[in-house]
Symmetry: C2
Subunit: 397 residues, 2 copies
């Protein structure tokens, strides 16, 4: 049976973009787009796609505990009841870490409002990044120690205030430095004011960097189409605008040497050595001078890196998981898997099983991206796939 699903494409904007994203290979069928029929042509390596679970909400982020449990942040665009949920051992999704922290209440300093970025460290502390934009509460980072159960697990709370955040801030993703007590955060904000935020967990110092740098700002010449139409957002005053998100996807290598990042709406992935992020004596210009262009990238809000330095992309426009590998000295962009079930793929995370886990969240079908109407169609599937084999698909250098 042919499955009803999304069709999508990235509007090619000239040869360079097409080459970078491998878009020249992407079959586009406008007719198919109109009736949401999914052309089998789109499938690549799809046999390896393993649907594992279904999220009870439109997911915004995915974390996996050391014992292998899924914890999901519920994307605020779906206006969820709970901000964060965990799949318990009975196979039931329940509020994480408890109902109290998922219940708005005046006086509750720990109440979660709008969590997107979520990561679990090797000690079982789940770090939740709450941008606070549903209720206009102050953004915060909350670390919860899962080894302590549903109460008493408050490990760390860091509130963000100006100048680390702006009124336009929309804290999106975070990565933990594996060697130093630091966390790096992406803030796409309104685009031109996007930035990276560096958090020193020992001192609590938070620092906004790279604001104004090209590596965090969106490219206005990129547009996204999904389900056969442009993805557009309604502003609060009713205007239709093209969402042009700045820096969003983040990844850090296993040694904590390099932070990989780039604007969601951007053609290039960048990287910077994390030592420069942690050095408080460097000013914004000096930090900017340390940024390196790394490879091309698709429109995406989630990336991951494996132990060999292969970078994986949740390719929203391509219904795909793409990758670049250092085994390819030109770092060209390729598809690892492409399948119509990958409808706005995100939450890319490696599990202890060595596999790459992620979800489809259908974000373009939420009211904010769909003229006020919610046409998202559960289930929101969580998949896992095998990453690149040790001997890469590409000749080693």
């Amino acid at each position: 049976m042919q499955r009803k699903s999304a069709i999508s494409r990235v509007r090619p904007r000239g040869f360079v973009a097409a080459c970078l994203f491998g878009l020249a290979l992407l079959p586009v069928d406008p007719a198919a787009a109109i009736d949401f029929e999914f052309p089998t042509l789109f499938k690549r390596n799809a046999d390896g796609l393993d649907p594992v679970e279904q999220a009870p909400c439109g997911p915004g982020g995915l974390a996996i505990t050391p014992s292998g449990d899924y914890i999901i942040s519920c994307h605020q665009f779906f206006n969820p009841t709970y901000s964060v949920v965990r799949l318990n051992r009975d196979g039931i999704w329940e509020a994480f870490p408890n109902i109290s922290m998922n219940t708005p209440a005046p006086g509750n300093q720990l109440a979660l409002d709008s969590v997107l970025g979520i990561v679990c460290d090797e000690d079982g502390v789940v770090w939740m990044l709450d941008n606070g934009r549903r209720s206009q509460t102050a953004p915060k980072l909350v670390g919860w120690d899962t080894t302590k159960g549903k109460t008493g697990g408050t490990h760390k709370i860091i509130n963000f205030v100006a100048p680390a955040v702006l009124k336009t801030s929309f804290l999106r993703n975070l990565v933990l430095d594996p060697e130093e007590p630091f966390i790096y955060i992406s803030d796409p904000a309104l685009g031109q004011d996007a930035a990276v935020i560096v958090v020193d967990l020992n001192t609590g110092l938070t620092r906004r960097i790279l604001q104004g740098h090209y590596s965090v700002q969106p490219d206005e010449n990129i547009a996204l189409e999904l389900d056969g139409k442009p993805v557009e957002a309604k502003t609060q005053d009713g205007r239709t605008v093209q969402p042009l998100a700045g820096v969003s996807p983040l990844a850090i290598d296993r040694e904590g040497k390099w932070l990989y990042f780039g604007p969601m709406y951007g053609r290039y992935l960048y990287r910077i050595q994390t030592e420069f992020l942690r050095d408080p004596t460097l000013d914004n210009t000096q930090i900017g001078s340390k940024v390196q262009a790394f490879s091309g990238k698709p429109i995406c809000d989630s990336i991951a890196i494996d132990p060999r330095g292969n970078v994986y992309f949740g390719d929203i426009g391509g219904n795909a998981i793409g990758y670049v590998t250092p085994d390819d000295k030109y770092l060209q962009y390729h598809y690892l898997i492409q399948d119509g079930r990958l409808i706005w793929p995100g939450g890319l995370t490696f599990g202890n099983d060595g596999k790459l886990h992620f979800f489809s969240n259908q974000l373009h079908r939420t009211p904010i991206y769909n003229g006020g109407k919610d046409v998202s169609a559960p289930p929101f599937e969580i998949f896992r796939i095998k990453p690149l084999p040790k001997k890469g698909l590409w000749p080693t250098r």
Copy 2:
């Protein structure tokens, strides 16, 4: 030579207040009040008053490092150039910890705006409480490690956001728990919304408690007169109001068992066992039920406690340092020293010399308390006095 100085009194409001504050003994001479002549009658034990230094600014708080250095917060009502200054070994007051942190600059997360409460711990970390009300920046607590010099000493920064603080918050004083990694803060706010804030230094969790409780709210039937006239404040819209500050003075005993506190404009000093402050499972009502009335108190914004549990008050209306001692089973209020040079005494702190250090800050002569005109008259003297002897002035129980 008779010194020109302040005359002041607390308006007696019936017998109870007079007894509580020992006001029945306070000579009031309205004629003297008018021309600022200081009647010699006011002096008690004044021979023991040792003027040590002169602050370069109207001080808001006083800390003493383990090596005996003075660090002063400059009260925002004087609109000082630097927020915090330190008396260096050459006898020169300089910006503390450095000029950068005392220079407002966009992007400088550590810039100090309006520091009042300041305390140094035994490890040489100076904790500065910045209420941010000069520039309407977010309130913050900054710990600076003085053993690391003028740079690189950032020990901890904790930003306060709702619901721990309100828009009306005016963070005033802080005490460090000597046994647990906690700090307790007074927030007089606008009076009725005054509260205590509990800071967990390990987790960064901040919690607003006791808001709405009588022990933190001002008594509207108390008025302050200094220099022969009522102390009144101008609001931003030009109205003259009586400043009625809620909880402000704080002290904690050497074992960290009891927190002593009370409203600046209040007749009673209260205390609560700190274990109840640290217990996140207690709600506001439960915490309120643990508060005990301890003794009478004068109008004051600074108190200190010595190792024997004697509590000392910067008695603003009395131009005095007062005390209550557990050696007196009725805990009656007495003067330790009274002298016309004590003009709004504050910053009560014990030094390593075992003496009680404090300053006169003439706060009622600042524009905000004096119809827009600054009539403060430097120097702002720093004094030290001997506290009560080991065998108290009062019979032991």
